[in-house]
């Protein structure tokens, strides 16, 4: 699922306004349950977010976030349990180091801070999850598409294979 959805080209979507593609990495115990609660309580939030559920936010390898952006995501949301509430005790201790550090690195690569957010969401915070997603979708919409694959193509990554064969000197 994830692969197909993530590599779909934003530009082919039939839509007049830009619809951001946001990938959400949520932990099973707190934040996914919180998002689920928003769903069962019919709290509407924009469909722009695609959620990937993992057992713990500590499992979120920075590689996953970087890959999401590299393949065309316009925004990434990472959610975990509040500090002290992690089901695995210290899983989110790793998250609270990795994600801010990664945010700093991605900011230096030109990815605006509003595109990459870390939020602690408990199982009871469905309303809060709704608010976060609505807010983030609008902010990313304002920023416009990131379109990293297009950027790399325009800078020449891979184009040597398309050029005409070597001619005479």
């Amino acid at each position: 699922m994830a692969d197909q959805v993530m590599t779909a080209d934003v530009s082919t979507r039939a839509s007049a306004t830009f619809e951001p593609r946001i990938i959400g990495f949520l932990c099973y115990w707190c934040s996914y349950t919180g998002a689920d609660m928003a769903g069962t309580a019919r709290m509407k939030y924009p469909p722009n977010i695609d959620i990937v559920r993992l057992m713990c936010s500590g499992r979120i390898d920075p590689e996953l976030v970087a890959t999401a952006f590299a393949k065309g995501a316009d925004g990434v949301l990472v959610c975990g349990c509040h500090i002290g509430d992690c089901h695995y005790m210290v899983g989110n201790h790793k998250t609270m180091v990795r994600i801010p550090l990664l945010q700093r690195v991605l900011r230096e690569m030109g990815i605006e801070p509003q595109r990459f957010r870390l939020e602690w969401v408990s199982a009871a915070e469905g309303a809060r999850f709704q608010k976060i997603v609505r807010e983030m979708t609008e902010q990313v919409r304002q920023l416009g598409p990131l379109n990293w694959p297009g950027l790399m193509r325009s800078r020449g990554v891979g184009h040597g294979m398309d050029l005409k064969p070597w001619g005479e000197v």
């Binding site: 500590g58 390898d61 920075p62 590689e63 976030v65 970087a66 890959t67 952006f69 590299a70 500090i83 201790h93 790793k94 998250t95 609270m96 180091v97 990795r98 801010p100 550090l101 990664l102 700093r104 690195v105 991605l106 230096e108 690569m109 030109g110 990815i111 990131l146 990293w148 950027l151 790399m152 800078r155 020449g156 990554v157 891979g158 184009h159 040597g160 294979m161 050029l163 064969p165 070597w166 005479e168 000197v169």
Partner: protein
């Protein structure tokens, strides 16, 4: 050493956006190079031999048996020569970290082309350029046009512009590993055509080769190398010096940690990861002695330059590759 035929093999080496260290490193195999030249002829090697581009273009296709291309692709000439050499070579090897992963020149991907030109030619303490002259691809003179290559927006790896058979990482690759690779190639132990396989290295990380003691303690504070004398024989990362060992491919013999300085990752990402920077971010997440967000923030503030340190040599093979 033996070869498959009685005819001498044809060998070429080219340097793109490189420092010359890889060409030197090929010579670090020492007296063994005499064995090599007994069975191989150098047919293109600008640093040492007088063949010109026109000569290479005139060779038949696949004339060159083994071609070593070092350096990143920074401009149009380097890409054109990469394509030319691919056409004229049976086996094309990306030699050195610049060709494999972008190397130090790829740090320029954190800046813009405009910024680079300004820093070199306009906004510079010793440069006197009131007319704001910048290098141009074509310059008109009374006798004719002068041409210099187009400076690309981003440093590319060899594999971004042509198909590559093998990659030999290292800045520069260490002599003993290189010799093993050459023996394997020339002896026919490995196929001439392959899918960009990294050779002359192992899949493990530098920590595997480093002899310093790992006490398995968490870090309480980060330090920078000029601020502290490290305790000898104890893991530098555990002492709080950022060391890229965990995220870096081994093959070098952990030479820098032997000299009491932390690894900076010059062999590129280790065998199990593609992106050296995210691997290091992940590793750091696991080894800090923190239980609150404030503590985490405080320690992260002590890291002077995460992007330039974690991606020092491998921005070209990271997922994102460059600044927007």
């Amino acid at each position: 050493m033996s070869t498959n035929g009685s005819e001498k093999k044809k060998v070429a080496m080219y340097w793109a956006a490189s420092c010359g260290g890889c060409d030197i490193s090929l010579l670090e195999i020492g007296p063994r190079i005499l064995d090599l030249t007994a069975v191989a002829d150098v047919v293109f090697w600008p640093v040492a031999v007088d063949f010109k581009y026109a000569d290479v273009a005139a060779y038949p296709d696949e004339y060159i048996d083994y071609c070593f291309y070092n350096g990143g692709v920074r401009n149009s000439e380097q890409e054109e020569v990469a394509r030319l050499l691919r056409k004229k070579s049976k086996t094309l090897v990306a030699y050195g970290t610049c060709a494999c992963d972008g190397g130090i020149p790829a740090l320029a991907n954190l800046k813009s082309k405009q910024g680079i030109f300004e820093a070199a030619y306009l906004d510079n303490p010793s440069t006197v350029n009131p007319a704001k002259v910048l290098p141009q691809e074509i310059t008109e003179t009374p006798v004719g046009q002068l041409e210099i290559p187009k400076f690309y927006d981003q440093v590319l790896r060899l594999i971004d512009v042509v198909e590559v058979d093998y990659l030999i990482p290292g800045c520069p690759p260490q002599a003993d590993r290189v010799w093993e690779a050459i023996l394997a190639l020339v002896g026919g132990v490995v196929p001439p055509r392959n899918k960009a396989v990294k050779v002359a290295c192992t899949d493990k990380s530098v920590c595997d080769e480093c002899k310093r003691e790992k006490r398995k303690v968490k870090i309480k504070e980060f330090k920078r190398p000029h601020q502290v004398r490290p305790e000898p024989e104890w893991c530098l990362l555990e002492q709080g010096l950022i060391c890229m060992g965990p995220a870096t491919r081994s093959g070098c013999g952990a030479l820098c940690t032997n000299a009491d300085l932390p690894c900076r990752g010059c062999y590129g990402p280790s065998g199990t990861v593609e992106d050296q920077g995210t691997a290091m971010v992940s590793a750091i997440g696991s080894i800090l002695d923190v239980t609150t967000e404030e503590q985490a923030r405080a320690m992260l503030n002590q890291i002077a330059d995460p992007t330039g340190t974690f991606y020092r040599f491998s921005l070209g093979s990271s997922y994102l590759k460059a600044r927007k």
